[in-house]
Amino acid sequence: MVERLKKAFGDDLRSNFILLAIIAVIYPAIYAISPGWGIVLGHGITWIIALLGFNLLFGYTGLLSFGHALFLGIGAYTAGFMYKYLGINSIELHILGSILSSAVVALAIGLVVVRYTRIFFAIFMLAIAQVFWSLYYKFYWITGGTDGIKMARFSILGISLEHLDFTTYHHIYFYFTTFLTTILIYLMWRIVNSPFGLTLKAIRDNEVRAKFIGIDIYKMRLYAFIISAIYAGITGALVANHHRLVTPDIAYWTTSGKVVFATLLGGTRIFIGPLIGSFIFHVIESFAMRFIYWQLIMGAFIIAIVILMPGGIAQILRTFVESIRHSGRIGG
């Protein structure tokens, strides 16, 4: 009975945690060889959270948000404002604050936008995100405009990290974020495998039938939207602390594009997709940025993914792992 719910590679928790563990173990070595690549891994671990949130909406609920930068912006500016106006530099409080603010904003916006689907939803989200971006940009006496908000180093558990060397500081950031990401992956995994999660998939596959088996589609979508926003908001707060600078860029449409692209790269139909996508994206990005026309390289990658591997890297990995397991079974 329960065997029917058994998960294939990538949809089980184990494969997700193994991947995280591998990253956590190799990170110090990579940082020791090249701090730059260590920081890239830091980006990778930070963005997983936002991509997971995005994919709850896209992969599981069928709503493509082309404006997730909205919530990254809310999260980042919440952290920025908390530092600038309240003098708070506790990363835990920044995260709590961003959870609250992104949930409130998502509730207000979600009440309207989740009535729309497909291209209408995507464009609506894009438009709202751009409005928020222009607010950060124009209200410079509050937000610092393009100069942004510079932040001091965060404190953790009430302990100031100002006196530490940068390497130790970054290590603390990395492992704190890994810890947080692990918890959030676990929570998201439970959500997508709960009755609620299956209901979302049903809505994604067939809205009309879902309605006629008595599901309140609007309410389910709103819940998914809010959870998704909270995840993006948390990444926003983390990015603010990682860069120690909040600028309108985080809320610009290119950030939304990054979220969409990185998730597609990893794969939207397998749980581990965003996890893989976040790391691969940041690795490709740092390679590509060495060239003047790096956007061209990224663009070529997008086209390649859409045409050659619509299931993303996770799908390729799953096929690979399953074939090994299968051949092992035959051989043994």
């Binding site: 709960s194 609620f196 088996i213 599901i215």
Partner: protein, 250 residues
């Protein structure tokens, strides 16, 4: 006991009278087959009772309650469930998950997001018994799109059954299915109806099937019920035969 009472239901689409004063009564546990040529208003009737469209006038009384203006979800919650003429399933899910979704909705578990499905043994057990009822057990783990069309039709009906309905309306459960499989599907569906004792309204085009499995038959033509009675009575009626065949062969 009366379960459903329709009072002078009317629904016009422009000049087309899809329902033109439908009045009838269904009793609990009754199985009614609705026949009629294309455009007779059969599907509109089901659409109206399920809340897919609202009637222009007339009333729908369900268990002594006026539900004419209730939303589809309210009606589902009251036990009025329908299936669709074309297969209408959740296509990226397995057969098992398709049925689970329906059970989740019927138990009002759709808001539960902190525990994974395997801890809800009540619905998992019920899903097994529904799979058994429709003999779908060996196909349960397959993607719904990978099984035969006839089986998908069965899953479609099983989804409706999982909602634990009091009144089930099936819109041509055997349409699009190969002739040799029709009997098998109809048998399984009728067996499920008998076992659960649900009141059922079935639209069917295939006269062989109707006359073989039907009990009470309702004939619709141009938005009206022109005959309503036992299967033998309807079969012998020459006038009805002319209308039913005329639509196709005249």
């Amino acid at each position: 006991m009366e379960i459903l009472k329709l009072v002078n239901l009317k629904k016009y689409f422009g000049g087309v009278r899809a329902l033109d004063g439908i009045s009838t009564t269904l009793h609990e546990g009754e199985v009614v087959t609705i026949i009629g040529p294309n455009g007779a208003g059969k599907t509109t009737l089901i659409n109206t009772i399920s809340g897919y469209v609202f009637p222009d006038s007339g009333r729908i009384i369900y268990m002594n309650e006026d539900i004419t203006k209730s939303t589809p979800i309210e009606r589902v919650n009251k036990g009025i469930v329908r299936s669709f003429q074309l297969v209408n399933t959740f296509d990226k899910l397995t057969v098992y998950e398709n049925i689970l979704v329906s059970l989740i909705s019927s138990r009002k578990y759709q808001n539960k997001m902190t525990k994974t499905l395997d801890s809800y043994t009540d619905i998992l057990e019920e899903a097994e018994s529904i799979l058994k009822l429709f003999e779908l057990g060996d196909k349960a783990d397959n993607l719904i799109t990978s099984i035969s069309y006839g089986d998908r039709k069965l899953v479609d009906v099983a989804i409706s059954f999982a909602l634990n309905p009091k009144l089930i309306m099936l819109d041509e459960p055997t349409s699009g299915v190969a002739t040799k499989d029709k009997d098998d599907i109809m048998k399984k569906i009728l067996e499920a109806i008998m076992k659960t004792g649900v009141t059922a309204m079935i639209i069917e085009h295939d006269m062989d099937i109707v006359f073989r499995y039907g009990k009470r038959v309702m004939v619709m033509h141009q938005g009206k019920i022109i005959a309503d009675g036992g299967v033998e009575e309807i079969r012998k009626d020459e006038e009805i035969k002319k209308i039913l065949l005329g639509g196709v062969y005249a």
